[in-house]
Symmetry: D2
Subunit: 133 residues, 4 copies
């Protein structure tokens, strides 16, 4: 299952080198992740109201070509692991309608309750597992 | 009382037009405000642990000249009102060692407790009043 | 003429006080402004390739109620002045489907060429004037 | 050679989960990298005025523990490769005075001229090589 979402590059996303600043792609990975989770029925506000947080413990990214102001980007998000202990996602960012990957990367997050690592409650993990199909 | 603090302009502060993006000055006003409050003995983590928040209700800014990557900026913060109901600050941002104001502006914030407007507890307002001298 | 565009509040838009950080609304005003200009046929990349920049010289904002993570916001942008010397816009930000204004504000920008104030070339001002109808 | 620089965590660095947003560490790696290069005599404005850019092609980060509002952070930057073709840095971020690493990571960048990969001119590479001692 791949979930795609869009982001139009803003002036405030760019830097003096004329391209989108590389740290922003990490933010756009998050945008992709939130939409992926929404697509499988996981509402992160619901998780937070249950006292569950989902800190990122690892990210990486490879930047192949720059995005520029006003580029219409597509963030394609797939899951490589979705368990009650962690979630791993893979992201590919392209201009809409183009084959070439501009930036790709991965993230891993765990779940915490009261600041301690926890396992995701059953009611969420059932929905989450749909994301691996 | 004027409190000055510094900010070196980062790549991620700039945009494709080659200058610091205007929304960042609003963030730097906050940096000035936090340091002003620290100087009078107000620790915002202490306020938050007492359940008090301090939402901004109004800001304005006038941008006279741009800051660029790696500029060493000085944020001068003065208070124009510091009561148990609100705080008003005025900011001037210059390059270190220069007279010319690059950006100036003001902010107003109130205090809230459980999402409702409140008056600042006595223990804070006594410290705060030092800021108007 | 009012142009509306959408922004879903991201984790990276929020702060420890649980709401969207106030400086982000200034960024969202820009999102509204860019979409307004697109709607009247002004492509800011075209302006930049003609050597014309459009620095903001003044902004203000009034924050009436907070936006939170995942809120679906609507940015309504109208023009109050569109001349060859400056553009002034007014913004209202609401949750989609709600009457209440969360944040409202204005911006003024001028045009520059080689770092000097200039008048907008005819080919752009003709398009721009449509925005006041 | 290790160059350390400081960053005080701002409200606008935090998110609704009460900690510094993970994408900001990628920005702070940049702050460390710029200060490292300044320490060996490389002024990035000088590089840019020579038409040389230095795009990031790869980053990774591991997040061990969160930073919070107003934490005083120390970014320790070391170089693992500094050639005329690329720069690789390693970063460790801690609270000032603490042993525990909050976040660590690496970055790789190349050099470009007119959008094409290039080798760094001699005048810079001589300075740069000091950074590996």
């Amino acid at each position: 299952m791949t979930v795609t979402t869009r982001h139009r590059v803003k002036f405030f996303d760019t830097d003096v080198m004329g391209v989108a600043h590389h740290a922003n792609y990490i933010r756009w990975f998050e945008t992709g992740r939130v939409e992926f989770l929404r697509a499988v029925g996981i509402d992160l506000n619901e998780l937070m109201s249950d006292g569950i947080l989902f800190p990122i413990i690892e990210i990486d990214a490879r930047f192949h070509a720059p995005a520029r102001f006003d580029d219409d980007l597509e963030i394609a998000t797939t899951a490589t692991a979705l368990t009650r202990a962690k979630m791993q996602f893979r992201y590919e960012i392209r201009r809409v309608g183009e084959e070439k990957i501009l930036t790709e990367g991965t993230s891993t997050n765990v779940f915490t309750h009261d600041g301690k690592i926890c396992r995701l409650p059953e009611k969420y993990s059932a929905r989450l597992s749909k994301g691996l199909t």
